[in-house]
Amino acid sequence: MQLYEKLFYEALKIRLLEEKIIEVYPEDKVESPVHLSIGQEHHIVSIMEPLTNKDIVFTTYRSHAVYLAKGGDLKLMLAELYGKQSGISKGKSGSMHLCSPEHGMMGSSAIVGAIYSHSIGMAYAQKIDTSTNNITLCITGEGATEEGVFCETLNFASLKQLPIIYIIENNGLAINIPIEVRQSYTIEKLAKAYNIEYHSYEDSFDMLTINNKFSKLVTDMKKSPRPIIIEIHTYRYLEHVGISMDYDKGYRTLNEYEAWYKRDPLVLNETLIKRYKNKIIKDIDDAINFAENSPSSFKDELLTDVY
C-alpha cells in the first residue's frame, strides 16, 4: 500500500469506527461517555505512522483515534467500551482511558492537563537510558495548555532537553467555550519563552504533508533529543461529549463546519473509500460481535488491582 493510502486507511478506520459508535450508542451498550474524534482523525494517523512501539504516547479522554492509530485493537477496544471482561482493561477504563502498552500507548487521562507531567517523566526515563533513542508524544487539546502545569513541564523539558513532542490539537474549543474567551497567549510565543522549537501545521487534513514533516522531525529528534511543540489546527465536528451535532446551540455556526467538511478527504476521496470501506466495516462488525458476545466484567474484578 502506498503511504497515502495507508494513512487514509487508518483514518477511515477511525472515522467508520466512530460512526459505528454513534449508531450503537442509543442502544446503551457503550457503558461510558464518549468524546469522539470525528474531524480530527487525519493528523493523528499521520503522526503515529513514523513512531515505533517504543515511542510512547499519552493522550486525553478523546483517545479513540490515538489508540487505533498507535496500533490498538478494535476488538479489545469495543469490548472495553461495552464493559466486558475481554476489554483492554477488563471494562474498568471505558472510553476515556484507552491504552495499549505493547504499542507504547501508556494511557489517557480525563483530567485536563494531567498527561503533560506524565510525559516529561517518561521522556526523562528515556533520556537517562542512553542505550536507546525513544521519544515521548503528549497529545492534548489547546485548552489544556491553560493549566499551569503545561508551563511547568515546558520549563522542565527545556531545562533537561527531554525527547518530548507536545502535540497541541487546536480546535478552538474547550467544551463549548471558544479560545478567545480563554487565552491571551499564543502557543508559539510561549514556546519561544521557554526556548522550545515550535512548528505549526495549519491544515490537519493534509495528511501527507504532516506525515512528511513530522517523520523528518522524529528522525532528527532521535539524533538530537530536544523538546518540540507542534500546534495542529483542526476541527471538532460533533459536540464535546456525546454523539450529536450541536450547531443549533448557538456557540458556533454550521458554516464553520461546512468549510471543513467540504474539504474532508474522508468524505471526498470516494475511490479510496470504496476500496476500503467494506473491509473496515467487516472488521468493525467482527469487533462489535466480539464485544457483544463477551461476558461482562466479572464481579470479583471490583476489588482487584487496587494494591
Binding site: E31, S32, P33, G83, K84, G87, K90, G91, K92, S93, G94, S95, M96, H97, S109, A110, I111, V112, G113, G143, A144, E146, E147, G148, A174, I175, N176, I177, V181, R182, Q183, E239, V241, G242, K249, G250, Y251, S296, S297, K299, E301, L302, L303, V306
Partner: protein
C-alpha cells in the same frame, strides 16, 4: 404540580437570588456561561447580570480558586463552580492552605466568605476520574464548612444563607443524579437560622440512618420500601453539613434506637462513618446495641463497566439488607428490592456531564 420543584431549579433560584440580593456576588467557573449552564443551574444568568458578574474562565482551577480568596478579600462574594468534584484536587492548595486559614492566621483581621459548588456523582460509566466524592478531605480541615444539600429545600436555603450571611468558605457537593429529582416546594425541614445544620428527615424508633446527599433519598426509598413489608420504624437524619454534624441530634437518635447505619457517597476509610463512630465512642460506649453498618463506595477506584459500577456504589438494596440485618439479624424470608427498583434513575442518567 405547582407544589413540585426540581433540585436544579432550586439551585438556579438561589443563584439568581445571590446575584440579585448580594450585589457583590459573582458566579464563575468552566461552563457557567455555555448553553448547558451547569445542569441548567446558571442558565441565563450572564445575560441578566452581565459578564463582569457571571463568566467562564480558562481551564486554570488553581488560579481561579486563589482568585476567589483575593476577590473575597476585595469585598466580592465569589461562587466558583466545578462541573466535577474531581477537579477540586487541583484546588486543594488554595482551599486548604489559603481559604481555610486566612481568617485564623491573621487573628480575625480578614474573612474569606465564598461558595464552592462541585458536582459529585455516579453512573454512566464516568469512571476513575469523574466519580469521586471528596467531602471528607475537606471536612478534615478546620476553617472549611462542607455541605451536601440533599434536597431542593436544603440547596436553596443553604445557598441563600451562605451568600447573605455566612462569613467563611463553604464547599458544597451536589450529586448529579439529584438535579432532576422532584421535591415538595413547601418542605420545611431546614432550620432557617442555621440552614447548614443536620436535621431529622423521618422520625423512627428502631434504626437510625445518618446519610449524606443522595443517600438521604435512598434512605427514604429504603424506608418506604420496607414499610410495605415490615413494621420497622426508621429514623433518618440528613447530615447536611459534613464538617459540622449535629452531635446532639445524632447521639440522641442512636440512644433511642441503639442501631446505626451511616450511608455516605464516598469511601469508608477516614470517611463520614468513621467520624460518626468517633463521635459515639468518645461520648458513650454503650449507645450501640449492634455493630454499625457503613455504606459507601467500595474500597477501589471507580470502574466504568455497569456491572462493576453497580457493585461499586452503595444502593437501595444495601440499605434494605443492612436494615434487615440490624433488625432481624437475618435476611431469611425478607423482600429484597429488584434490580429495576434499585437502579431506578441512575441507570438512565446520560450526562451531559
Amino acid at each position: 404540580m405547582n407544589d413540585i420543584i426540581i433540585y436544579k431549579n432550586a439551585i438556579k433560584n438561589s443563584m439568581h437570588y445571590a446575584l440579585e440580593k448580594n450585589k457583590n456576588s459573582i458566579i464563575y467557573g468552566i461552563g457557567v456561561t455555555d448553553y448547558i449552564g451547569i445542569f441548567g443551574t446558571t442558565e441565563g444568568l450572564e445575560q441578566e447580570f452581565g459578564s463582569d458578574r457571571v463568566f467562564d474562565t480558562p481551564i486554570s482551577e488553581d488560579a481561579m480558586t486563589g482568585f476567589a480568596v483575593g476577590a473575597s478579600l476585595g469585598g466580592l462574594y465569589p461562587i466558583h463552580i466545578h462541573i466535577r468534584a474531581d477537579f477540586l484536587l487541583l484546588t486543594m492548595n488554595q482551599l486548604i492552605n489559603s481559604a481555610a486559614k486566612y481568617r485564623y492566621t491573621y487573628g480575625g483581621l480578614f474573612q474569606t466568605p465564598m461558595l464552592i459548588r462541585a458536582v459529585i456523582g455516579r453512573s454512566w460509566g464516568q469512571g476513575a476520574q469523574h466519580s469521586q466524592s471528596l467531602q471528607s478531605l475537606f471536612a478534615h480541615i478546620p476553617g472549611l464548612t462542607v455541605i451536601m444539600p440533599s434536597s431542593a429545600e436544603a440547596a436553596e436555603k443553604c445557598y441563600k444563607y451562605a451568600v447573605m450571611h455566612y462569613k467563611n468558605p463553604v464547599i458544597s457537593f451536589e450529586h448529579r443524579l439529584l438535579y432532576d429529582y422532584k421535591f415538595n416546594k413547601n418542605s420545611s425541614l431546614i432550620d432557617q437560622n442555621n440552614p447548614f445544620d443536620s436535621y431529622l428527615v423521618e422520625e423512627g424508633n428502631d434504626i437510625t440512618i445518618v446519610a449524606s446527599s443522595i443517600m438521604v433519598q435512598e434512605a427514604i426509598k429504603a424506608s418506604d420500601y420496607i414499610s410495605k413489608y415490615e413494621n420497622i420504624s426508621i429514623e433518618i437524619i440528613d447530615i447536611n453539613s459534613v464538617s459540622h454534624p449535629n452531635q446532639t441530634l445524632i447521639l440522641n437518635s442512636i440512644r433511642k434506637t441503639g442501631k446505626l447505619i451511616v450511608a455516605d457517597t464516598s469511601w469508608l476509610s477516614h470517611g463520614l462513618g468513621a467520624e460518626i463512630s468517633r463521635m459515639i465512642l468518645e461520648t458513650d460506649v454503650t449507645l450501640l446495641k449492634k455493630p454499625m453498618k457503613n455504606l459507601g463506595m467500595a474500597q477501589a477506584t471507580c470502574p466504568t463497566a455497569k456491572k462493576l459500577e453497580y457493585e461499586f456504589y452503595p444502593n437501595l438494596k444495601d440499605l434494605v439488607v443492612s436494615i434487615y440485618d440490624l433488625h432481624f439479624g437475618t435476611l431469611k424470608g425478607k423482600k429484597i428490592p429488584s434490580e429495576e427498583e434499585i437502579v431506578y434513575q441512575y441507570k438512565y442518567f446520560k450526562g451531559p456531564f
